[in-house]
Amino acid sequence: MAAPKQSILIMLVDDDDGHRLLIRENLRAGGIVNDVIEMTDGQQALDYLQRRSKYQDPAQSPRPGLLLLDIKMPKVDGFTVLEKVKADPQLRMIPVLMLTSTDDQGEVNKCYALGANNYVVKPVRYEEFQDRLRAIGLFLDIVRFPD
C-alpha cells in the first residue's frame, strides 16, 4: 500500500489501561499498522489536539487522522471532547469513532447528534470486536497487510 496512508495517526482516548492495550492489539491483529497515540482522559486529548501545555510543538504533536474516543472518562468525558472537536474548524474534519460499552440507544443517538462518524460497542466476545475494527480499517482505507 501507499506510504502516505501509513502516516495517518490514530489517537486512542480511553481511561482504562486494559481497554487501550486490547484495542491496540486488536487493531494490529486486524491489520492496522498505523501509529497509535494513546490518551488517558478527555482533558489530555483536548490539550494535545488544541496544542496546549506540553503539546505546543506541532512537530512533536502531529494531528491524528482518526479519533477513537471512549465515552465514560474522568475529568472530561467523550461527549465533551467530541463536541469541542466538532466545534473547532481545524479539527472538525478528523473522523471520530465513539467507543461505547453498551448499545444504549440514547447514548448512540447523542453521539450522532454531536457529529460522531460512527460508533463501536466494546464487546465482551473478542472475535466480534476484531471484526468491527477490521471494518473500521476498511472504512478508512488505512489497512496494510504485512508483506
Binding site: G18, L22, K72, D104, Q105, V124, R125
Partner: protein
C-alpha cells in the same frame, strides 16, 4: 314559579290583611247602611204620624190654611221631599214639594188609602228614591176632645174613623251621599291599613329572612371554597340555631379539608420520594451495569490473549519432552504439559463462560433499567400484528417441539409502546416453549377479553406449571424455577412486569404444578400513562 321565601311571606301576610280588612269594611258598611235606612224610615214615620194627628182638625173642618201651615212646618225638615194632606177622596187639601221631586208626589198621592195602618213604601224614579209614609188621619171618638187636646193626643185608641191621609216622603239622596262618604272613608282607611300592613310585613319579613339571606350568601362562599366564613350572632330562634349549625358545619368541613390537605401533602412527598428513589435505583442499575462491563471486557480480552500463548507453551513443552534424554526431566515436563492442557484450558473456559454469563445478566439489567426511557412512542397498535411478529421469531422452535398455537382475535387498537409489548409476548411465549410439559397435545393459546376500561390478554400453555410456593417469586428479579434446566437470566418476568406497570397495566398468573400455566396481563384503555412510567 320560583318565588323567594321573602316574597311568599309578604304575599301571605298582605293577603291576610286585605281579606280581613275587606270583610270588616263590608260588614261595617252594611251595618251603617241598615242603621241609616232604619233612621230614615223611623223619621218619615214619625213625621207622617205627627202630620196626620195634627191634621185631624183641619181635615174635619176643611181648614186648608191651617193644614198648609202644618205641611210647611214638616217641610222645614230639610230631607223631606214632599208632604201633603188629603181628604178621604184623595183630594189634596194642602201640599208642598221640594223642587225636582214632583214625579214622586204624583206617585205618592196615587197610593191607595188604607184604613188604620200607615202605608210605607219606597218609590224610585230615574235613579233617585224617596221613602213615603201615608198615615191615615183618623177621627178619634174620645170622651174629652178639643182642638188643643188633639195636638197632644196619642194614636191607637179604639173605634176610629179615617177621614183623610197625611203623606210624607223623605229623599234618600242625602242618605246615599252620606253612605258614599262613609264608604269613601272606609276605603281610604282600608287602603291605609293595607299600606301600613305591607310596610310592617316588609320589616317583619326582612327580620325573618335577613339571617337566611346571610346564610345563603355564606353557603355560596363555602361552595366557592372559602372555608373561613363565620356568621356572627343570629336570632334566638330556629334561624339562629341554623346559623350556629352552619358555623359548626363549616368548622368541621374546614378541619376535614385541612386533614385531607395534610395527608395529600404527605402523599405527595412520599410519591416524590418514591419517584426519586425509583429514579435513583434505575440510575444505579444503569450505571452499575454500564460500569461493570468495563472490567468484564478486560477479563475476557486478557483471557483470550492467553490462548495463543498456551498453545505455544504446549507445543514447546511437547518438543522439550521429546528432546529430553533425562527420563526424570521428561516425566516432569510431561506432567507440567498435562496440567497446562487440563487446568489451564479448563480455567480459561470457565472464565470465558463466567464472563459471558455476567455480560448476559448485565445486558438484561440494562434492558430493565431502560423500560420507559426508550424513544418508543405510545400509539395505537394492532396486538394481532405484534403476536404475528413474535410467533415468526419462534416459528422454528415451535415446529421443532411440535407445539400447536391457538390464536383468538386480539384488539387492534391498543395504545402502547410496540417494542415493549412485543417483548411482553416474546417473553411469555418463550417461557411457554421452554417450560412445555411432557403431554401428548402441546399447545399455546393466546386470547383476550375486552372490558370498557382495559384489555386483558392471556397466554395459556400445557407446560409443567408453577407450584403455589413459586407463584409470587417468579416475578422477582433473577428468580428462576430451580428444577428446570432452561436458558435465561431469570429477568424475563420482572422485565415484563416492569413494562406492563409502565403502561399502567398488571401481570399475574394462574397455574398448578403439572397442569400448565396461564399468564394474564392488562393494558388500560383510553388513558395516558406517560406518568406511570416514571412512578
Amino acid at each position: 314559579m320560583k318565588w323567594s321565601l321573602k316574597l311568599k311571606t309578604l304575599l301571605l301576610v298582605t293577603t291576610l290583611v286585605v281579606v280581613v280588612a275587606t270583610i270588616l269594611t263590608v260588614v261595617n258598611i252594611n251595618r251603617q247602611r241598615d242603621l241609616l235606612f232604619r233612621n230614615l224610615e223611623r223619621l218619615t214615620g214619625v213625621l207622617a204620624q205627627n202630620l196626620a194627628f195634627n191634621s185631624e182638625y183641619g181635615v174635619l173642618t176643611g181648614n186648608r190654611e191651617a193644614l198648609q201651615d202644618l205641611v210647611d212646618g214638616v217641610m222645614r225638615e230639610s230631607t223631606v221631599a214632599c208632604a201633603a194632606v188629603m181628604d178621604r177622596d184623595h183630594a189634596i187639601l194642602a201640599s208642598a214639594v221640594r223642587p225636582g221631586m214632583e214625579p214622586f208626589v204624583q206617585d205618592a198621592l196615587k197610593l191607595e188609602m188604607t184604613a188604620a195602618q200607615p202605608l210605607r213604601r219606597y218609590l224610585r224614579h230615574s235613579g233617585a228614591a224617596v221613602y213615603v209614609v201615608q198615615h191615615p188621619v183618623t177621627l178619634a171618638r174620645r170622651q174629652r176632645w178639643s182642638a188643643e187636646g188633639a195636638l197632644f193626643s196619642v194614636p191607637g185608641n179604639s173605634s176610629e174613623e179615617t177621614i183623610g191621609a197625611a203623606v210624607v216622603a223623605l229623599s234618600t239622596t242625602p242618605l246615599i251621599a252620606s253612605l258614599e262618604e262613609v264608604q269613601q272613608t272606609t276605603v281610604t282607611l282600608t287602603g291605609l291599613s293595607v299600606l301600613i300592613a305591607w310596610l310592617l310585613s316588609i320589616i317583619l319579613v326582612n327580620l325573618l329572612t335577613k339571617p337566611l339571606q346571610r346564610l345563603k350568601a355564606a353557603t355560596h362562599e363555602v361552595a366557592a371554597g372559602n372555608l373561613e366564613v363565620r356568621l356572627e350572632g343570629g336570632p334566638h330562634d330556629e334561624v339562629g340555631d341554623l346559623t350556629r349549625a352552619f358555623n359548626q358545619m363549616v368548622h368541621e368541613v374546614r378541619q376535614a379539608r385541612n386533614r385531607i390537605e395534610e395527608s395529600n401533602r404527605q402523599l405527595e412527598a412520599t410519591a416524590k420520594e418514591l419517584t426519586s428513589l425509583n429514579q435513583e435505583m434505575e440510575d444505579l442499575l444503569r450505571v452499575a451495569s454500564h460500569d461493570l462491563r468495563a472490567p468484564l471486557i478486560n477479563i475476557q480480552g486478557f483471557t483470550k490473549r492467553l490462548e495463543p500463548i498456551m498453545a505455544d507453551t504446549l507445543r514447546l513443552l511437547e518438543q522439550a519432552a521429546g528432546s529430553s534424554a533425562d527420563a526424570g526431566l521428561r516425566g516432569g515436563i510431561e506432567a507440567l504439559r498435562g496440567q497446562v492442557q487440563t487446568r489451564f484450558a479448563e480455567s480459561i473456559r470457565f472464565i470465558s463462560k463466567g464472563v459471558e454469563k455476567m455480560d448476559s445478566l448485565l445486558t438484561s439489567l440494562l434492558a430493565v433499567s431502560r423500560v420507559s426511557r426508550k424513544a418508543d412512542p405510545v400509539q395505537p397498535n394492532d396486538l394481532n400484528e405484534v403476536v404475528e411478529d413474535v410467533l415468526a421469531v419462534f416459528d422454528h422452535q415451535l415446529k421443532d417441539r411440535s407445539i400447536e398455537v391457538i390464536r383468538h382475535p386480539l384488539p387492534s387498537d391498543v395504545a402502547c409502546r410496540r417494542n415493549e409489548i412485543n417483548q411482553v409476548f416474546s417473553n411469555l411465549i418463550s417461557n411457554a416453549i421452554n417450560y412445555m410439559g411432557p403431554v401428548d397435545r402441546r399447545y399455546i393459546e393466546i386470547g383476550s377479553t375486552e372490558r370498557p376500561d382495559e384489555v386483558e390478554c392471556y397466554v395459556r400453555d400445557t407446560g409443567i406449571g408453577i407450584g403455589d410456593e413459586d407463584q409470587d417469586r417468579i416475578f422477582n428479579m433473577f428468580t428462576r424455577l430451580q428444577a428446570v434446566d432452561v436458558p435465561g437470566e431469570g429477568v424475563g418476568l420482572a422485565y415484563v412486569k416492569k413494562i406492563l406497570r409502565s403502561h399502567g397495566g398488571k401481570l399475574w398468573v394462574h397455574s398448578k404444578q403439572g397442569q400448565g400455566s396461564t399468564f394474564f396481563f392488562t393494558l388500560p384503555r383510553h388513558r395516558t400513562f406517560a406518568m406511570a412510567g416514571k412512578g
